[in-house]
């Protein structure tokens, strides 16, 4: 992700492709240049145009070591009543702060249950 981008490209999978999970663990490695930014790693679930679930982890909130790769993880509990075609989306959202490159690697959603 570079300077002017507000969003990264999105990673989309159907809920069924992820194994119809109820609990997920979001895992990633991130490299931030500093903490002067507002940056969230977002996971959402949508059906047609409506968002059924939205959750995020603030990367500057949990990463306090800069210019080095740091692991990030978060436990997510999806709502009941999802259907196989519901779309699970993952992306980075930068809502403010300094213009700098941000790196993200090994982005994974692991099914826990």
């Amino acid at each position: 992700m570079t300077g002017g981008d507000e969003y990264t490209m999105q990673f989309n999978r159907s809920w069924k492709d992820l194994g119809s999970p109820r609990k997920l663990r979001l895992n990633a490695w991130a490299l931030l240049p500093h903490g002067r930014l507002k940056l969230n790693l977002v996971v959402s679930v949508s059906r047609n145009d409506s968002t059924l679930y939205w959750n995020s982890i603030s990367l500057p909130g949990v990463i306090k070591h800069y210019n080095q790769w740091v692991p990030v993880h978060k436990l997510l509990v999806l709502p009941a009543g999802l259907v196989p075609t519901d779309k699970v989306t993952m992306y980075l959202w930068k809502s403010g702060g300094m213009v700098d490159a941000i790196y993200l690697d090994d982005l994974r959603l692991d099914k826990l249950s």
Partner: protein, 453 residues
């Protein structure tokens, strides 16, 4: 001296906490010069630690003009230089006028006004120490609270602290003029009116004395309310003459999303893990204050129909401080949720926590298991942010370790006030050191421009 009501016409209270004091009682009451020297010692230690850490490369920034104007500092500077904006939608309208107008009057730069702000707060702390008979050790501990960094930058907190201290002294000594001055000063320095009014009513009602003149007490009560209302109306007028919207400061909060809604998710902190612990510690204070207010309120209600007894009542200053803490917590939890950033600024960068802690130190002489209540509050707030399973970026064991440290930190404040705790001297020195380090670290974050509220 017990934290019970003191009349200005009665005998001057003894300054040490008195019989049942958590600390060894001083042979003689401390004088204002003792407190002044203690504050100077703290200022010297703070300056020495910051400059040493900067010299060793542990801190990166010095408090320079441009860096001190970070975050709200820039808004205050804008009001000081240009007055309120002509656009009622701008965020600058959320800031209250006493500090920026005072800044304009002094003609100082950001560094100068920051030093002056710190002096206001330190003088306020001295007033509190003198009023409530704190020991030097207790005063040092309170001066090093990390959130007091907001009284050392170009924010309204320095003046708020000073006027808050006058208010508390007035409430404790029942000096109406000081109460009115404190109420008006605080409500001109910060958007505190909506928190102050319920707290003031709570304090006045629970100390209502049926032996005294009804008219006089009602007059004092109404005068206090009038002081708050007059301050808020003055702010409204100052903004109205600029852009025609008297409610601009309120509307800006709405634009920021500060509207009432019940928490639906776990609480979090937009400032991140290195500020979360302070905001959670403030939430612990809020929980304890809420329980105390409920207990005192119920006791007052049950006693309404009974004959008056001469039992000593709690000081108005304590009641007001408890009410203020509950009000501040209510605003953050219900108007800003799930983000609790800023709660530590409301609680610890105010004189009201000083009084709550002084009360707690004394209260645990009769209720030695107060620490169990604080422990319970710590577990509760940990749960509210997702411990043990849903605490962001922490595995359950890591989260547990985090909250064990957090709980020990909170409990340490109580245990330095326990007369039967042998290590209270060592503990208070350690706590002072930890807080001082956290204070310079937070100040460095602020100067770097990192969001800490």
């Amino acid at each position: 001296m017990a934290l019970t009501s003191v009349s200005s016409s009665g005998p001057v209270p003894e300054y040490p906490l008195g019989i049942g004091s958590p600390m060894p009682v001083q042979r003689e009451p401390l004088r204002w010069t003792d407190y002044a020297l203690t504050i100077l010692l703290h200022a010297g230690l703070l300056t020495a630690l910051y400059s040493a850490c900067y010299c060793f490369g542990l801190l990166d920034y010095l408090p320079e003009q441009a860096r001190l104007l970070n975050w709200d500092g820039n808004n205050f500077y804008s009001i000081a230089v240009n007055d309120y904006p002509t656009d009622s939608k701008l965020g600058t309208n959320a800031f209250f006028p006493l500090f920026p107008y005072w800044w304009r009057l002094t003609g100082l730069d950001a560094v100068g006004i920051s030093i002056l702000n710190a002096i206001w707060a330190w003088v306020g702390a001295g007033v509190l120490a003198l009023t409530f008979g704190l020991t030097r050790r207790q005063l040092l501990l309170l001066l090093a609270l990390p959130s007091l960094l907001f009284t050392m930058v170009p924010y309204g907190e320095g003046l708020f602290f000073f006027f808050g201290a006058l208010l508390l002294r007035g409430l404790h000594r029942q000096q109406v003029a000081l109460v009115l001055l404190g109420l008006a000063g605080c409500c001109l320095a910060r958007s505190a009116g909506t928190t102050f009014l319920p707290a003031y009513l709570f304090a006045e009602l629970l100390t209502w004395d049926r032996r005294k003149s009804f008219g006089r007490q009602l007059g004092e009560l109404l005068a206090g309310i009038l002081a708050v209302v007059a301050a808020v109306v003055l702010v409204m007028w100052l903004q109205y003459r600029r852009h025609g919207d008297a409610l601009a400061f309120y509307n800006v909060h709405s634009l920021w999303g500060h509207k009432f809604h019940l928490p639906e998710t776990l609480l979090n902190d937009s400032a991140g893990i290195n500020v979360l612990w302070l905001d959670l510690a403030a939430l612990v204070v809020v929980v304890v204050a809420l329980v105390a207010c409920l207990a005192l309120g119920v006791r007052w209600l049950l006693g309404l129909g009974k004959a008056h007894t001469d039992a000593p009542r709690l000081s108005k200053a304590v009641l007001f401080s408890l009410g203020y803490a509950v009000g501040a917590g209510y605003f953050i939890v219900f108007y800003q949720n799930p983000d609790i950033v800023g709660l530590s600024r409301y609680i610890f960068a105010s004189p009201f926590f000083f009084v709550i802690l002084a009360w707690a130190w004394q209260y645990q002489q009769t209720q030695p298991r107060l620490w169990l209540g604080v422990l319970t509050a710590c577990v509760l707030v940990a749960t509210l942010v997702g411990w043990p399973w849903y605490f962001d970026n922490f595995m359950p064991l890591e989260a547990t370790w985090y909250f064990v440290l957090f709980t020990l930190y909170c409990l340490a404040f109580l245990f330095i006030g326990k007369a039967d705790f042998r290590w209270y001297r060592e503990l208070s020195v350690g706590l002072y050191g930890i807080n001082l380090l956290a204070l310079v670290y937070m100040l460095n974050l602020f100067l770097e421009g990192v969001w800490i509220n």
